[in-house]
């Protein structure tokens, strides 16, 4: 068994046999590994360059042009006009700045809310109880729901008629004093509704990561704290929090990056669910509708580039903050 010939793939270009393998002269193995390493990486790297690298550079190029889909006119060089319009032309900058603001609101509310909820759930679920696995699965379940479906379920829950789930529940609780309210259609609650359904769908994911962080805290630390008569709050404050600080920062920053990418639920609910478009539009929604409904590729590319810059800044902050902690 062990003396069979090298595998066909490895045999190509092979000079010295396996016998000399262990103390093999460095240079030849190096050059061989160069070929294998490159061949192994090639498919994935080629795919990434073709479908991420090139389109991204193309986005930058397009954003400096006036390009319209389906237009007989050739694209013309536009300089920074698309960016200038994005920020100063009242017709365009209005919706765009509103979208930026909405994204910001979404992130500012969702990040602490979802991280906090996930932490609370993770602590609750970090017990040795029977059936704890079942509870963990229940809280994780919405994560596997496609957003297109989540949006539909919540469209029904938040339906504006008095037969909507939330409205009729409030009616029952308030003994009939609560009238029907248009949660998705009202400018004040549209974004709040998107936030609620997004947190519902996403919190389980963060919870699982935090749970893993909690389980890495040595149990002796809690025993020691208990001997020192530390209260539950003190244990949380001085053992739990420092123990998962890195994980917590990671989760918060991951959430903030993901929160900037919010699109599916907004699109589904605006197009078919009576969601107030202005109050809920996000940067990605703006980019897609500009490209798709208005056929304005140049403009949409400029939005895309601005969006990318925001995500990069968030990601770089994430690396900065998380790195030093990991190297301890």
């Amino acid at each position: 068994m062990k003396t069979v010939e090298p595998a066909p793939a490895a045999a190509s270009g092979r000079q010295q046999g396996p016998l000399v393998g262990a103390p093999a002269p460095r240079p030849s193995r190096r050059s061989r590994e160069w070929l294998h390493g490159l061949l192994m990486s090639a498919p994935a790297v080629a795919g990434l360059i073709a479908f991420v690298g090139i389109p991204f550079c193309y986005a930058v190029v397009l954003s400096f042009h006036n390009v319209r889909l389906g237009s007989p006119l050739e694209p013309t060089f536009f300089g920074v006009e698309q960016y200038r319009r994005l920020f100063t032309d009242p017709d365009l900058s209005g919706p765009f700045l509103r979208a930026l603001l909405n994204n910001l609101t979404f992130a500012v509310v969702v990040v602490p809310l979802q991280t906090g909820l996930a932490l609370g759930l993770a602590i609750l679920l970090n017990r040795k109880l029977k059936a704890i696995g079942l509870f963990r699965s229940l809280f994780f379940m919405p994560v596997v729901f496609p957003m297109a479906l989540v949006a539909v379920i919540w469209r029904l829950i938040l339906a504006r008629s008095d037969q909507g789930m939330l409205n009729s529940a409030l009616d029952a609780v308030s003994l009939g004093n609560w009238g029907a309210f248009d949660w998705l259609g009202d400018g004040l609650t549209a974004m709040a509704s998107i936030i609620v359904l997004s947190v519902w769908q996403g919190v389980g994911f963060q919870m699982v990561i935090l749970l893993a962080g909690l389980q890495q805290i040595p149990g002796e630390l809690y025993e020691a704290a208990e001997l020192d008569r530390a209260s539950r709050w003190q244990q949380f404050r001085h053992v739990t929090l420092p123990g998962i600080r890195g994980t917590l920062v990671f989760v918060a920053l991951l959430t903030s990056v993901l929160s900037f990418r919010v699109f599916d639920q907004v699109y589904v609910l605006v197009k078919g669910g009576g969601l107030d478009e202005d109050a809920a539009r996000t940067v990605m929604y703006q980019a897609v509708t500009t490209a798709f409904d208005q056929n304005n590729i140049g403009q949409a590319s400029a939005i895309t580039v601005v969006f990318f810059l925001i995500v990069v800044v968030l990601t770089l902050i994430q690396r900065r903050v998380v790195r030093p902690d990991n190297e301890d």
């Binding site: 090298p6 595998a7 045999a11 393998g21 262990a22 190096r30 590994e33 294998h36 192994m40 990486s41 498919p43 994935a44 790297v45 795919g47 990434l48 479908f51 991420v52 690298g53 991204f56 397009l62 759930l121 609750l124 109880l129 963990r136 229940l138 809280f139 379940m141 919405p142 994560v143 596997v144 729901f145 496609p146 957003m147 297109a148 479906l149 989540v150 539909v152 379920i153 919540w154 829950i157 037969q163 789930m165 009729s168 529940a169 699982v208 990561i209 893993a212 962080g213 020691a224 001997l227 994980t247 990671f250 599916d264 980019a287 490209a291 798709f292 895309t304 969006f307 995500v311 990601t315």
Partner: protein, 293 residues
Amino acid sequence: MSTLTSGPTGAPLRRPTRAPLRRFLDYAVLSVLAFVFTLPVLYLLLGSLKPSDEVLNGLSGFLPTHLSFDNYAAVLDSLNSDSTGYFWQFMGVSLLLAFVVVTGGLFVNSMAAYGLSRLKWRGREAVFTLVLLLMLVPFESVAVPLFYMFNDQRNTLFIQALPFVANAFSVYQFHTFFRSIPPSIEEAARLDGAGPWRTFFAIIVPMSKPAFASVAILTFLTQWGSFLWPVLMVSDPSVRPLPLEMSVFQGQQPPDWGQILAFGVLLVLPVLIVFAFFQRWFVQGVAGSAVKG
């Protein structure tokens, strides 16, 4: 140091007195929270089994009356012509895309990660840095130029799958995992005459099941719910994946809520099945790459 001596004696003394009450409270809190949290799912399930006029009917939408599978039959019935598209076709497209993206992705990305983490060659640092840089680019920010580049490929299966096979984050996850494998394993394989390819496929892949499972599940979840790209690229029902059809189906006038929810259950069922089978792997994988990475 004090924990070693007094830990075992201190803890058991206190536990019995307060354990039952605490445990009861834990269960109570968890049950209430879990109930509230899963209400939307219950609503989906119950609604899919109810006549449509009872779905959007206030709190009685939760009463399990008049349950039947009529909605499911009606969905399959109504999506059964060339003009509406066929349900099995939507499902088939989604399954096919998921299969291609997941298996192709596992193959290509794990191989790249192996080449980048375990083989020593000049330039690999540069290539890996490139992969990390590309990981920073969210798909959303290349969607518009991709849409423009491949505009003449709209409504094909090929363009729906191909951009998602190579995935920088998957490469990174595999990379993290492979780095933790002791080098002695490869040295032993090399002494037995195995080259890098054979070492990878015959030894590394079988021992990396957790990494493969978690990457597979994450890819599957993302691909199954994929929405933005189909919105841009697909209008023809014959190549339309399920989530896009879900949004088309729910936009019908007048909406038939029972059927829409039944459609939703059919949409999420495959993921729930996969999740039920691979849950342990998934949780380990997600948590592992996050905490260690």
